[in-house]
């Protein structure tokens, strides 16, 4: 079939060439000079020789062509039917070309892949991560790896690992040069399943370990404190050692649970707006007691201005406690520990440095690994679990930050980590999207209430810090008027958003009324003059009745906010804001 096609093509080509050759002959009808003297026989002989020569050349060309085609087919097959997915993505992340394996991974017909946006094949939970990754490849890194869950039309969700390289294609004539990303994709579903199994195993085992541990601990404590009769000094000493080890084992179990949760992506990330310098100052004050006891110095440096960023305070406390206690542990008496906070444009940087024993150069790459302990603190006392820094790294990464370490043996160690300043809108989006997903899964409703203080920045210009304090007060008033713990309040500058899970429209209205009343009561008790300048709007919207996606829900709740507090009193006159 294929050969027949090819012969047909050759014939077509010669038929197409013939008129051209004839035209050429008409233009130059003269025979070469020596040919004029030849006899007819000689001429015919000469022509036949030429003809045979041409035929032979033609055959050679044909077989050359066949070889080229064969090798092209071979490479095309290698590309198309490779067990790894290959694809090329354009600048706007549209699939320009893809092989059969890619189509199989995505669960879509190969023909239908081209010109599709790649992100539509990704599990919604991973889309943000993908967007960040691909933007990085195009704009910064040029190459990188990422693990994603895909979502096939049939509902199955394989895990793939994607490796990408950015390539600048040479410009075609008259066109701007094009930049594309070539990516390979391999299946890691099995590995992910095993990881999941391992994490479940750790989690189950850890829970099972806790009960007998509680019994051992309580038994030893009872003997130690004399509840089981008098004991001698030697017994107390032995049992104290036992108790220290029990506590260490309990810490180890907690750390194992922490890390398995973090690795499985099951750790909750609940960012709220806080003044980071206050958190850091409080933590340093707490550790100052310890360093004073050890005759160590603890210095704390931060800018004077408040640094309001979205973080998960519990997780940040865990990170800082870990890094500072490490510094204390590995720093000798009279040594110094310094905690420094820098406010940069898009992120904050926190460093914890000490004048301690340091880490050897060859050990530095292993610092954030699991069960890595290089220089144990000498003597008895608090022993680590070898998981602390691995947990710290994971905790920082869920904040989308980074951590690094610098150290010199016998001089000291410095841990530096950054936390990006996440925009309020992004945090709102995350909370709302989670709420929507949960509501969709459980076929229930999800409502938002938005309280907005109008012209907040002007108020700040005029009254300094006062409006911010008022906002936190109002946040507290709102929290007090909510009756369920699961309801969350988030604050940005000038706005408070209340997330009501499992709440239908009518119920949200009731909650809104209650909040409105609480704010009004609170403000009427404020005697300060400037309060009269405050105007607050309160609006609500509910999924799925009124909106389908996070933006729609947020916009509706915002736009609907009639002014509920204006100066001293306003009788519910509606003034929608836009």
């Amino acid at each position: 079939m294929r050969n027949k096609n090819k012969d047909q093509k050759d014939e077509d080509r010669s038929r197409h060439l013939r008129p051209k050759a004839e035209a050429k002959l008409v233009r130059d009808p003269k025979l070469p000079a020596d040919m004029e003297k030849m006899s007819q026989e000689e001429l015919i002989h000469e022509l036949r020789v030429h003809q045979i020569e041409l035929e032979m050349q033609n055959d050679e060309l044909k077989s050359g062509q066949a070889m080229i085609e064969e090798s092209r087919d071979k490479y095309a097959q290698l590309y198309d039917f490779a067990p790894t997915g290959y694809l090329t993505l354009s600048r706007d992340v549209v699939i320009l070309e893809a092989n059969v394996a890619t189509a199989m991974f995505l669960g879509v017909d190969h023909q239908k892949l081209i010109n599709q946006r790649f992100r539509k094949f990704i599990d919604p939970a991973d889309i943000d991560r993908w967007d960040r990754y691909i933007v990085d490849i195009f704009q910064h890194d040029g190459k990188g790896r990422c693990e994603l869950a895909l979502k096939r039309p049939d509902g199955s969700m394989p895990y793939v690992q994607i490796d990408s390289v950015r390539i600048d294609l040479p410009a075609a004539a008259g066109q701007a040069p094009e930049t594309v990303v070539r990516a390979s994709m391999s299946d890691i579903t099995e590995r992910k399943n095993i990881d999941e199994l391992k994490n479940q195993f750790i989690s189950t085992v850890s829970h099972e370990l806790r009960t007998p541990l509680a019994i051992i601990k309580e038994g030893v404590s009872l003997v130690l404190d004399g509840s089981a009769g008098p004991e001698n000094e030697k017994q107390v000493k032995l049992l104290t050692t036992v108790k220290t080890s029990i506590d260490r084992l309990a810490r180890l179990i907690n750390s194992l649970l922490d890390i398995s949760k973090l690795e499985a992506g099951r750790a909750e990330f609940k960012p709220v707006l806080v003044d980071f310098s206050v958190i850091l100052r409080d933590i340093c004050a707490k550790w100052k007691i310890e360093t004073d006891k050890n005759c160590q110095g603890l210095e704390y440096c931060s800018p004077d201005l408040p640094i309001n960023i979205y973080i998960d305070p519990d997780k940040l406390t865990q990170i800082l406690d870990n890094l500072i206690s490490n510094a204390i542990k590995f720093t000798p008496k009279e040594g110094k520990i310094k905690v420094e906070l820098k406010d940069e444009k898009n992120q904050i940087e926190i460093s914890i440095s000490d004048t301690g024993i340091g880490i050897a150069k060859e050990d530095l790459p292993k610092v954030f690994g699991r069960f890595q302990q290089f220089s144990r603190a000498p003597g008895a006392g608090y022993k680590g679990t070898g998981l602390g820094l691995a947990i710290v790294k994971e905790l920082i990464e869920i904040h989308k930050g980074e951590i690094k370490v610098e150290s010199e043996l016998n001089k000291g160690t410095k841990f530096i980590f950054t936390l990006p300043k996440i925009e309020a809108e992004e945090i709102f989006k995350e909370y709302i999207t989670n709420g929507l997903e949960e509501a969709a899964d459980r076929k229930s409703s999800f409502s938002l209430i938005v309280a907005h203080i109008m012209e907040f920045s002007q108020l700040q210009e005029k009254w300094g810090e006062k409006p911010l304090y008022l906002l936190t007060d109002i946040e507290r008033v709102i929290k007090d008027s909510l009756r369920r713990r699961a309801d969350t309040v988030l604050r940005s500058t000038g706005e408070l958003i209340i997330f009501l899970l499992d709440t239908r429209k009518g119920d949200a209205e009731v909650v809104k009324k209650r909040i409105e009343e609480a704010i009004r009561t609170y403000l009427s008790q404020c005697k300060e003059e400037w309060i009269k300048e405050i105007r607050i709007t309160l609006g609500t919207a509910t999924f799925p009745e009124e909106a389908n996606n996070h933006q729609e829900l947020l916009d509706k709740a915002r736009v609907r906010g009639g002014i509920k507090y204006k100066g001293v009193r306003n009788n519910g006159k509606k003034n929608p804001i836009h």
Binding site: H207, A214, S221
Partner: protein, 122 residues
Amino acid sequence: MAKRILFIEDEVDIVMLMQTRLETHGYKMLSAFNGEEGLKMAREKNPDLILLDKIMPKMDGLEVCQRLKSDPKTKDTPIIIVSASGGKDLPERCLAAGADDLIIKPFEAEELLAKIKALLKE
């Protein structure tokens, strides 16, 4: 008169140890080894406080808690949930079930005693 604390827990060993602990601190301890027995005892003996294990066969601690809190006879008795698992949203779920406090195993005896004292308003 000594305050009476009911401990509902399926692990016999920990019940025994807690008995020693609570008695040295002047409490009287009652014990039940599963949820149903616990519910029955709570209704009959009317203890001053209930310690309730979360994970038990047959009836889960949170369910026992909910039933105790919806029974007019026992609804005012403070309940402390004792749990071996941290778990997602555990504090929220305990509060939702009506519990007054929560402690994670293995716990410090001092911490538990402090929680008991606080709830008994001693």
